[in-house]
Symmetry: C2
Subunit: 114 residues, 2 copies
């Protein structure tokens, strides 16, 4: 737990809020950790027991937030699917810090008009 202006924050909460993830999406996010291999949304869906639509929505959000890297896998029968992997922890930390700095800047701007 962290204090900020006399309010208590849980680190998970900060990360979840920072990336705009729902509770379920945050669960999927955490499920990516410690896995070094690329995987499809179907594999994630099986692993997390979340339905494919939820996983796809979560993965889209995480990809857009810069949390995941994506690669295209060509299928033998033609076409392709995307596979996803989480960035390394240092990169995720930097993303979270950027969000915090953005919040801090907003607070500072408000103080300048106080």
């Amino acid at each position: 737990m962290i204090d900020f202006a006399c309010k208590r924050f849980d680190l998970d909460e900060i990360v979840k809020c920072g990336f705009g993830l729902t509770k379920g999406e945050f669960f999927i996010f955490k499920n990516f950790f410690g896995r070094d291999n690329f995987c499809t949304t179907e594999e994630i869906s099986k692993r997390t027991k979340f339905n494919l639509t939820t996983v796809q929505k979560a993965v889209k959000k995480m990809y857009e937030e810069g949390i995941l890297v994506r690669r295209q896998k060509n299928l033998s029968k033609g076409g392709y699917i995307f596979e996803y992997k989480i960035k390394n922890k240092r990169e995720i930390r930097d993303l979270v810090k950027k969000l915090i700095n953005k919040w801090t800047k907003t607070v500072e701007e408000r103080i300048d008009r106080w």
Copy 2:
């Protein structure tokens, strides 16, 4: 109201918390604003209707936090009293921003160990 990691903050709350002021002390703090003259704790006590002990405690805290400037007024019958004045708003803002940066640094350090 300001958002920080999905929690809402009131600017007054941030200032109050930052300087470690109680509700009463914050009232006294706000009473200093817009007054350009030095005044004694007795005068502040009369003005705010807070008892002298509370005012003295509040003023001590605010002086230590760098919010107030103090000057010594010599009495004609010997001895002296202190008079206080609030620093200008720019200086107060800078103090608040310093506090916020200290909080932000703590959050960042925790993220580095996440």
